[in-house]
Symmetry: C2
Subunit: 340 residues, 2 copies
DNA sequence: AGTTATAATGAAAGCGCTATCATAAGTGAA
DNA sequence: TTCACTTATGATAGCGCTTTCATTATAACT
């Protein structure tokens, strides 16, 4: 029933030529007589023959397949990156396999073993900061991985990571958002970030601080809180912030680390009966597909994540060892109101 | 700089043994003397050696990698399936690559070539009905693909598809929703489906019709409309339906094909100033992560898509040739109101 | 006709492993 | 001491391709 895959020998003997000739036809070499070519092609068609990329890979030392490592496919942010990367890879003739984050950061079984054993031609790693320990571990694993195959990073990559990378210009994005909110008359602007990290100057909270400075607004410690970057974390973070402040000090605008956090903030604000956007403006980041369907529709930053993924694949394949940032675009939707 | 991958010969000569012995150590065979084993292991560690799964695959005829074909990773529905499938595959020691839908339904370049050339151990295909022509084409391609490797389908698989498959029990789900809405007093219940298809008795619109019959409600043709299954399509579908009806005939409840469509319906209803859920109840399906954050929070059906993906992998690996349906669960969230 | 360049093909090595078979060394019973 | 039997190891043949090199057959020159 199943087609026991034909081999080049089957084709050769069927066509009455040597395997070398079949190979020439397969690879489109020109020095084959038309008559022979035709015979061989006929045999190929008859058997539905497809050369094994496995066997080819043994010789060429290239599997024409890439890997992508990311924390969580269910987060649409990563799905978008994957989607863009995958499409670009396909265009370049590569396939792409997904690997769980644990293939990098676990010492339980030698990290990266899965990736290395499969002899991928390269791997894209979406990094995520979780803790100083974790960060150190990840950097070690990445360095080790890099000894085996090209690695390109995506995400918030600190300057001291010696890897080619494609990142968002986080600081600039945040500064733009702060400026935008200031232009609407906001002065009490809060920031709900992800895991706190203090050394990396490229992170979003740094941009938030810079934005405040640009606008000569005072920095209020209780306006800057951290969470895990999820919707639930956003709810809790905003809840705790408001609980800790007298209502007259409540921020009039919240900048959320990403749209998930923003969604959580909306939920929490609604629970407290705050009218949005009048009593609370919220800005997200990532521009998830659901942003236009939230209440109010969420103003967000389109970070062109598919383009990010695609660009990472280009760097990976070309071997360029550089760090790049991608353009972004603020999408106004109405979750921010002018302060009267 | 880069580690030119060590081979089994490097290890053998470094450890002063034959490659056969190294291979025995690698595969954990017992008939190796402890002293030798130790020597070999030391050499392996010294070189950071990882056996090539490519070379292994040449012999074992198994790549230990699976494929998944789906229309659109950006649709969280498919991301959830992929996520579940991927995790299960990893547990079983397989890697998983994503392939675009075009690898199945294009005749431009021989379909499935990418899949076959890579000698995958099996592939999961998420099918989507688009048109009769497309459907026929897909079935042909799938049959051809099956000659080369095990195939398991996910999605709305018609009875005449002779493939192992994991599907939702669409009809039963829809009947449950209709019954639920009826129990809230609704009588004018609309259904916004995906692409219309008339032969397959397992589709959601059939369940909707059955649900009406269960409740002895009349079927109103203008309450059943079709679209493309996206949020935008949902907006348009509901808009057209309401435009075509006098307000006194407007449905009091809408069953959406999925949460995306439901999101679109909410947007359209809001645009028309309909108060939800009082003037319009909406039920979705798929229970996307954003469902709880919509306004009102969307009542939906959790179709356990990760479990679906995982189960498909199990069927693929075990080779069981059966069709299965997965359990589901209605999640009430408040987008449906009782009719006074 | 004789020599040389050119085109078309085949034979065979090798990619990095596994698996089979052969060989060598060690053990205990007759 | 010899024989059968186990245990540890090596030599080697593939797996399905690509690639190099050698070998023809054919055309193009003196």
């Amino acid at each position: 029933m199943r087609n026991e895959n034909a081999t080049i020998y089957d084709i050769a003997s069927d066509a009455g030529v040597s395997i070398a000739t079949v190979s020439r036809v397969l690879r489109g070499e020109t020095n084959v007589s038309p008559a022979t070519r035709e015979k061989v092609q006929a045999a190929i068609d008859r058997h539905n023959y497809r050369p094994s990329s496995i066997a080819r890979g043994m010789i060429s030392k290239s599997t024409h397949s890439l890997g992508i490592v990311l924390p969580k496919l269910l987060n649409p942010h990563y799905a978008m990156i994957f989607s863009g990367a995958h499409e670009e890879a396909r265009k370049m003739g590569y396939s792409m396999s997904l690997f769980p984050w644990s293939s990098i950061d676990t010492r339980a079984y030698d990290p990266a073993t899965m990736l290395v054993e499969r002899r991928l031609d390269g791997v894209i790693v979406c990094v995520e900061y979780l803790s100083p320990d974790h960060d150190e571990q990840v950097l070690l694993s990445l360095r080790e991985l890099k000894r085996f195959m090209p690695v390109v990073l995506i995400g918030c990559v600190p300057p001291w990571y010696d890897f080619p990378a494609v990142s968002d210009n986080n600081a600039a994005m945040m500064r733009q958002i702060v400026a935008y909110l200031v232009s609407l008359g906001h002065e009490k602007i809060a920031f709900i970030g992800g895991v706190q990290e203090d050394k990396d100057p490229l992170r979003r909270d740094v941009g938030y601080m810079e934005g405040l400075r640009d606008a000569r607004l005072p920095y209020t410690a209780s306006y800057r809180v951290y969470g895990k970057g999820t919707a639930t974390a956003g709810e809790m973070a905003l809840g705790n912030m408001l609980d800790a402040l007298k209502p007259e000090y409540w921020p009039t605008a919240v900048i959320a680390l990403n749209d998930l956090v923003a969604m959580g903030c909306q939920a929490e604000a609604r629970r407290r009966g705050l009218v949005m956007p009048d009593q609370l403006s919220i800005v997200g980041c990532d521009d998830l597909f659901c942003a236009p369907y939230l209440c109010p529709p969420l103003t967000s930053i389109n970070t062109h994540q598919q383009r990010t993924g695609a660009r990472a694949v280009q760097l990976l394949i070309s071997g360029e060892e550089k760090k790049e940032t991608v353009e972004w675009e603020m999408i106004e939707r109405g979750s921010c109101a002018r302060i009267k």
